[in-house]
Symmetry: C2
């Protein structure tokens, strides 16, 4: 029943549930139904129940789920009962912003290293971290037990950064550079791409604009248009 293979789509929602549940403990809520959790996380209740059922049977029929216990189970499933060290590769605007991001550590993630290949930047500081040489990436990753690499380089440098992270034994990478990068099968790669998100919004925005202009045209020629369909 339990055991292997939580669907990807479910994994992607677990952090949402977790966040909602943490909010609830802060409001001293002890128990939550799938209906309530669904509302808080912005999904529907059947999905919540199915998702949680992949982790096990942690609810109580007629009652709901114990908030604390569910937080623990989801955290465990997501591997958040331990801390993870991250390395940021590429200290531009975005890399700097991420390095300063509070609430990064809130859920067990710690920026343990910043590297860049620009000699003008190496040796500089961001917060209480020093910017180190990209060439020392492997050594640094090993010393600090980095397990997650975050790429915030320009697009052209992204593949090189990924290659070095992989050769340093890292197999979880989050790529912010607007470029497709290739990694071996055993490496998890996720990407966040601002310009793609904007282009998707643009698509729907344009569609709305087109629809609106049709409506405007209809309103103007309303009677004529209607008269063509008696």
């Amino acid at each position: 029943m339990k055991e292997n293979s939580v669907p990807e789509a479910t994994v992607a929602r677990l952090p949402l549930y977790l966040r909602s549940l943490v909010d609830m403990t802060e409001r001293a809520v002890a128990t939550v139904s799938s209906e309530q959790l669904a509302e808080a996380a912005g999904v529907n209740s059947a999905k919540v129940r199915k998702d949680l059922s992949y982790l096990g049977s942690y609810g109580t029929r007629g009652v709901g789920y114990d908030v604390e216990y569910l937080i623990y189970q989801i955290s465990r499933e997501l591997g958040l009962t331990q801390d993870w060290n991250c390395m940021i590769v590429g200290v531009g605007n975005l890399g700097r912003a991420l390095a300063n991001y509070r609430g990064f550590g809130s859920r067990g993630f710690r920026v343990a290293a910043l590297v860049d290949s620009d000699t003008a930047k190496i040796g500089g500081r961001v917060g209480d971290l020093e910017i180190e040489d990209f060439e020392d990436l492997e050594r640094i990753a090993k010393e600090r037990q980095v397990s997650i690499g975050i790429i915030t380089t320009p697009a052209a440098a992204a593949q090189g950064a990924a290659d070095r992270l992989v050769s340093a034994g890292i197999h979880s990478i989050l790529n912010f550079a607007p470029a497709l990068i290739q990694v071996p099968d055993d490496v998890s790669l996720r990407k966040v791409d601002l310009s793609i998100e904007l282009q998707i919004l643009s698509f729907y925005e344009q569609r709305k604009a087109a629809f609106d202009s049709v409506r405007r045209a209809r309103r103007l020629t309303g009677s004529a248009a209607r008269s063509t369909r008696p």
Copy 2:
């Protein structure tokens, strides 16, 4: 055949194709097959053909697609033949990084305004833009014809920011704040959530670690384990 409704999944991939195609023109490639484009975009060729077929029949059998023409068609479909003005709400580390982001404008997006509710920040500059008062959001949005709102506030302020953007007549929002926000049905909302991405990576990272330790254990107790199954 053509007409309405390009599937969401396809819309999300069009920007990828577009990027690959633009790379190709820079390398003076005139024609591309679905196979080549698939390789460049990191998907498979059947998907490319199906996706492109939603836009129309722009390929030539036995030959492939004309790169320039395809760029034009995809750009048109995505609404990138016009410029879009964006407003960044919340000028913290991330907001500042986005405001400075070059290549933002590369594909027709322009940061037209920065607003924040912190009086200490208002009046300050980021690049050649002034930080303005959040309270003036509606007026600014109208004056500058902003159509996309980018929320980079703390989580607690995100819903308020969204509400104001909506009331300013904006119906495309990109949310970077780690919070669920509610918008009316006619508003497109996309979210980018760093901590969720990290938690997803953590899940798979943990799974790998668990698997590795099983392998290690097997190696140690290999013969004994095997002997239990004769």
